[in-house]
């Protein structure tokens, strides 16, 4: 089932697919950042893919000089019951990437969370506020260079 999906993707988006990885029976497809919305729309609408359920969107920090951040989409198909994972790379110099909430509205909060934790800006998102941390917080906690105990006095405590 998944092989047809991958073949179809390769056929339609030969230029945007950067890499296909297999590990423990799971497929990860690395996609060009600019084409993610197109690929996602295709995966959702195509008859034999039908990835209509977006399980999760999350970020990761590779802490590398190039392509430091990754945005990962875990997709699921309710009709075919298969999973696939897409991945795009976001460089530190340009933290923008397209938002997929037009494809799956449910990606709204996960994208906000990714913004909150990594500072990746999703273009086209209608409500890109911080998800967990207070609004005035200036840092992005899940970046590898953020200390686990945080920055002292970055969030004020009430007076005693």
């Amino acid at each position: 089932m998944l092989t047809t999906v991958i073949e179809k993707l390769k056929l339609h988006f030969s230029n945007s697919i950067l890499d296909v990885r297999e590990f423990r029976g799971e497929t990860t497809i690395c996609v060009n950042k600019a084409d993610i919305v197109k690929v996602c729309t295709f995966l959702r609408d195509d008859e034999s893919c039908s990835f209509n359920y977006c399980s999760d969107v999350c970020g990761a920090d590779a802490y590398a000089p190039e392509n430091r951040f990754e945005v990962i989409y875990n997709l699921y198909s309710l009709s075919y019951k298969h999973r696939i994972r897409l991945k795009i790379f976001v460089d530190e110099s340009d933290l923008h990437c397209p938002s997929v909430i037009s494809v799956w509205p449910g990606a709204n909060w996960p994208e906000r969370e990714t913004y909150d934790m990594f500072g990746i800006i999703f273009d086209g998102h209608n409500d890109l506020r911080r998800m967990y941390m207070p609004e005035e917080f200036e840092y992005f906690p899940l970046r590898k260079d953020f200390p686990m105990m945080g920055v002292p006095d970055s969030i004020p405590l009430p007076r005693k």
Binding site: N74, M133, P141
Partner: protein, 418 residues
């Protein structure tokens, strides 16, 4: 920045978000006007520390913005700094209503990453404890929902049953609900015969007690009418918003990972997946209720079928050895030392493993770089995704229905805020 300025900024941003919604407001009389109401984070009906900002048009909810993060404890950062085993206690506190289920879900993900499979007995025990956890979680969910809409007695009754389960968990794991029972490739220890007897006793008397609650609620017109037709969501919306668990099964979609992507021993068991079509609060309540009954069936089958055998996979380099062996044998001592000091060290790669937890699809996405701790661990928490539809469910309804809707969504903030 001082505290007052900080509060100002928070307030402004939230108000700006409320203003953004396209809402039409009309005035019929002087009392009928727009107002912004803050609900939570300390509110008995928000099940923890959820905060809702509600724009009211008279009694009708015109807009609703949920605000999370009051319980953001930084699990994902913690996970990157502790070893795979050290993270197990943290999974207890994710969804603290069904900790055993979270333990299982997490170790299953790690086992997939490491590439080991636990012995059959372990899988049966894990299934039993998952289903027990599901029962206890749904019991609290039902009880709290009933309490929210005004039936306090049922809550004390379901809590009585939960106390019995706590006793069993205590017998099994040593703690009432911070259990940390599973290990990578096995369990902390075997399920003793006393525990099995205790579970059997509990299961034998449970359906009758459950029936008490059911009669109390299902025949109660106030309860039923309070929930009927309230907070309706359609199939397409539910899929698009990424709902899962009983909430998506209440709109007629048979999405249950126990059936669609079987893990543990679920494909060897005979059980039904309750599905209803209404998509309102009452349907969500009925789905939970029926799931409890199915879980009872599963536990009984597992107890019958459970084989004897070891409770640790035979992978000395990945699975913590037994305590007795560490003290008496050289090789186990070395393995224990290596595992504790350097960790499990799975190969480089990434996995996503999801289980059907009591609230919905609970997934762990782990990136490994071959070290003793995860490079990145993402928790796909069902409550977070379910809460996302709150505004859809309450907008256009009455303000008093918010309580029923939240209760029927059954979110746990520990998991939603991570």
């Amino acid at each position: 920045m001082n505290i007052d300025q900080a509060m100002d900024i928070r307030q402004q941003k939230i108000l700006a978000a409320l203003e953004n919604k396209n809402t039409s407001v009309y005035f019929d009389d002087a009392l009928d006007n727009e107002m912004i109401l803050n609900m939570g984070p300390q509110h008995p009906a928000t099940h923890g520390v959820l905060r809702l900002l509600i724009k009211l048009d008279g009694e009708t909810v015109a807009a609703c913005v949920p605000e999370l993060g009051y319980l953001h404890r930084g699990y994902e950062k913690l996970a990157e700094n502790v070893s795979y085993h050290e993270f197990i206690p943290h999974t207890d506190r994710l969804d603290y209503l069904s900790p055993l289920m979270n333990n299982t879900a997490y170790v299953l993900a790690v086992e997939k990453l490491v590439g080991i499979e636990a012995p059959k007995r372990v899988q049966y025990i894990r299934t039993i404890i998952s289903e027990m956890a599901r029962i206890s979680s749904h019991l609290l969910g039902i009880g709290a929902l009933a309490m929210d809409v005004g039936a306090l007695t049922v809550f004390t009754w379901t809590f009585r049953e939960r106390e019995k389960m706590y006793d069993i968990f205590e017998l099994l794991t040593g703690a009432r609900f911070t259990t940390s029972f599973t290990r990578v490739g096995g369990l902390a220890h075997d399920m003793t015969p006393e525990v099995i007897t205790a579970i059997k006793e509990f299961i034998a008397q449970f359906p009758e007690k459950l029936n008490e609650c059911i009669t109390m609620l299902n025949t109660n017109r106030i309860f039923v009418e309070r929930m009927d037709g309230v907070g309706v969501i359609t199939q397409d919306q539910a899929i698009a918003m990424g709902m899962s668990g009983p909430n998506i099964r209440a709109v007629g979609i048979e999405h249950d990972l126990r059936r669609t992507q079987p893990y543990l021993v679920y494909n060897e068991l005979d059980f039904n997946i309750p599905v209803l079509n209404d998509g309102d609060c009452l349907a969500r309540y009925y789905v939970r209720l029926n799931e409890v009954k199915e879980s009872v069936k599963i536990v009984i089958q597992c107890l019958d079928k459970m084989p004897a055998g070891p409770v640790h996979a035979n992978e000395p380099k990945k699975v913590l050895p037994r305590k007795e062996q560490i003290y008496t044998r050289m090789e186990e001592l070395i393995h224990d030392f290596m595992l504790i000091n350097f960790g499990v060290n799975p190969p480089v790669g990434e996995v996503y493993h999801a289980v059907e937890a009591s609230k919905g699809e609970l997934g762990f996405y782990i990136q490994s770089r071959g070290e003793g701790h995860p490079w990145r661990l993402k928790i796909r928490s069902p409550s977070f995704m379910n809460l996302q539809s709150t505004s859809l469910l309450v907008e256009g309804g009455m303000i008093s229905d918010i309580v029923a809707v939240l209760g029927s969504l059954d979110p746990v903030m520990g998991e939603a805020d991570k």
